[in-house]
Symmetry: C2
Subunit: 382 residues, 2 copies
């Protein structure tokens, strides 16, 4: 109805008008200079006198002026935000990981005046859809890709779209990829050596998610250590897909049921190791004596079981910080080949590993005895 729009018109239904934020025009008018001068002064262009720059800086400070990220983005093409899309299908896998990781990401990002926009998806397809939407709407200048696969559709998508990204992990085809990763293979190697030093001869591997890059690397580290130490490398010592307690327990039961079961298990993930812990208990084995376990991740639950889990702690906060820093450099145009970093996870020795109390053969007999006894009494899981 009102044809003459009132200046600074209060739009009805709008929540509490509040003090309108200062714009660059306000600052320019207050100083009697042009918008361009204010912009150049604040962005450090060389063709502004020091005196003017000072005046502009002070006025901006005094008026509480900060440039609108959107308005800036529309011209520069950069939003000042990094993106992260989380896959929350499996609740078990990344729980403790998150808070520290986010803290690392955001603090490092805000040091460069960047914010973090995050989204979630249930599955792979939705992840891709969310990524394309975020790119199209220009909600982020680049992305962090956690939980990389050996062959990862997200990477293909971002590569094709020409959007910067950094992997948390490695991948099959590294061309054009920047990454930060923890040397899981080095940890597995260290774990095998430690168990060997304890006196173990048959050391098994409880692997993680198939197709995920970390699992291939950790498996490789495990196998290479076996080879170096001259230990038997037997397919019957390996199982995969142990990413939760259930799958970890099942995998461990499989390994223990073999003719020559391992007396120690190197586990790719702590959740799998906790499953192994439970399976051992159910088989009447004493963890740390009858069966040694070494995990990887440093999940807090590991400290809760008895005996507590020997594991490799990863500093998720530091990882997040590095990733953010790398991504921002990538967005600024540095080539991906120069942006590849790795770090080592730190061994955290606790009670779940030690010298073997039983030989493999003796262990096999114990297991056989226990399980046959259980078969009569035990029904389905409650």
């Amino acid at each position: 109805m009102l044809t003459d729009a009132p200046p600074n018109g209060v739009r009805s239904g709008q929540p509490a008008a509040g003090a309108r934020r200062a714009t660059i025009t306000d600052v320019a008018e207050a100083l009697g200079v042009s918008k361009g001068t204010v912009s150049r002064a604040l962005n450090g262009y060389p063709d502004i006198s020091d005196r003017t720059r000072q005046r502009v800086r002070q006025a901006a400070e005094r008026m509480g002026y900060l440039p609108s990220a959107q308005a800036k983005a529309i011209r520069t093409g950069r939003v000042g935000a990094i993106g992260l899309v989380l896959q929350v299908g499996e609740p078990d896998e990344q729980r403790p990981f998150l808070a520290d990781f986010l803290a690392g990401l955001t603090t490092a990002a805000s040091a460069e005046n960047c914010s973090l926009t995050i989204a979630t998806a249930q599955d792979d397809g939705e992840t891709r859809a969310v990524l394309t939407r975020l790119i199209a709407e220009r909600k982020a200048d680049g992305f962090i890709l956690p939980r990389t696969r050996l062959s990862d559709p997200r990477i293909d998508l971002l590569r094709a779209a020409g959007v910067p990204f950094v992997l948390f992990g490695r991948t099959g085809d590294p061309t054009g990829c920047a990454w930060f990763d923890l040397l899981g293979e080095a940890a597995m190697d260290e774990a095998v050596r430690r168990l060997h030093a304890h006196g173990h001869q048959r050391i098994g591997y409880l692997g993680g998610g198939a197709g995920l890059a970390y699992n291939a690397l950790r498996l490789e580290g495990y196998r290479r250590a076996l080879a170096t130490l001259g230990l038997p490398c037997d397919p019957a010592l390996e199982t995969h897909g142990a990413t939760t307690m259930e799958t970890g327990a099942a995998g461990t039961a499989r390994l223990l049921a073999g003719a020559e079961p391992p007396t120690a298990l190197v586990c790719a993930t702590d959740m799998g190791a906790l499953g192994a812990h439970r399976a051992a208990r159910e088989a009447g084995l004493m963890v740390g004596r009858d069966l040694s376990l070494i995990g990887y991740d440093g999940v807090p639950e590991g400290a809760w079981v008895a005996p507590p889990l020997t594991t490799f702690e990863v500093d998720n906060r530091a990882a997040g910080a590095r990733l953010a820093a790398l991504l921002i450099r990538r967005i600024r145009g540095e080539p991906p080949e120069a942006l590849r970093e790795t770090a080592r996870a730190r061994l955290c020795p606790r009670g779940s590993d030690g010298p073997p109390a039983l030989s493999s053969a003796a262990l096999a007999r114990r297991v056989a005895a226990t399980t046959s006894r259980h078969h009569d009494t035990k029904g389905g899981r409650p």
Copy 2:
């Protein structure tokens, strides 16, 4: 050097140019209509014929056009993002909470075509600074405020700035506030009644963080239940500040050292309850018999201790979803008074509570005996 700017100029140093995203101008030109027509057609204005609307929709779809959120924001004043600033000072307090909560927030938000920008801060001061920066840079249209205080500086700040917000929790002065909260007081009431039904007479309270709104409400629920049931309400039965295992254990030790110790404890937080669990064990008490415990939060660690912790599970995912929905309605202009929701936490009965095996007096004697014995042998904590 090049004075004639090339169309679609490739900016050097820019990472992989990629296919330039389609803009509204591209769509308009492809159809031979004006930008305004495209905009109106896509945004559902009534003065566009159905035929034109269809043509525009299809062309946009075909060209993969999505309006840039920034460009849109500059005119409409709305970025299409909700903000969340997390305080990550104390790592213990909100760990498991996070992943589900974020999943709820983002899925509900993206249903309304909104994204989530998050930031972190170490302490209160930094939280305020981060908030003001996000507001000034217009990185979010409104904010979710978790872990509300009775008197909360963030609320004052947002109220003054006229920025929409929704509390996760309640607060002292509710004017202008919208919120979603779980009825902690109802849970505490239920816990007290349950313990009373078990036969407990002296029921204690292990409270959470001072100044936090939830603690006041839960304490109130506890006290009111005591009064209703005619149970003794004794200051010696209450302690506060038990938000971690350490503080929970210390508080429990204090309560147990009294002349008439409680035979059951209602705990405002699970982490505090887990500390009580440890303290009970260290005092030689059997949890669930000598000392009953009921927690609140449903942290996964509760299922790991023996006996497992009876607690109230909260659905953080649903909470996030409701909060996002409420905030978006708030941003769209609905009055805060209409945007207040609560839900109930669900009791999850496990093994840590039951009929009292000892009277309060007998418990006091047991505790006294154990601690005096311990005083000789026990040094500092390892």
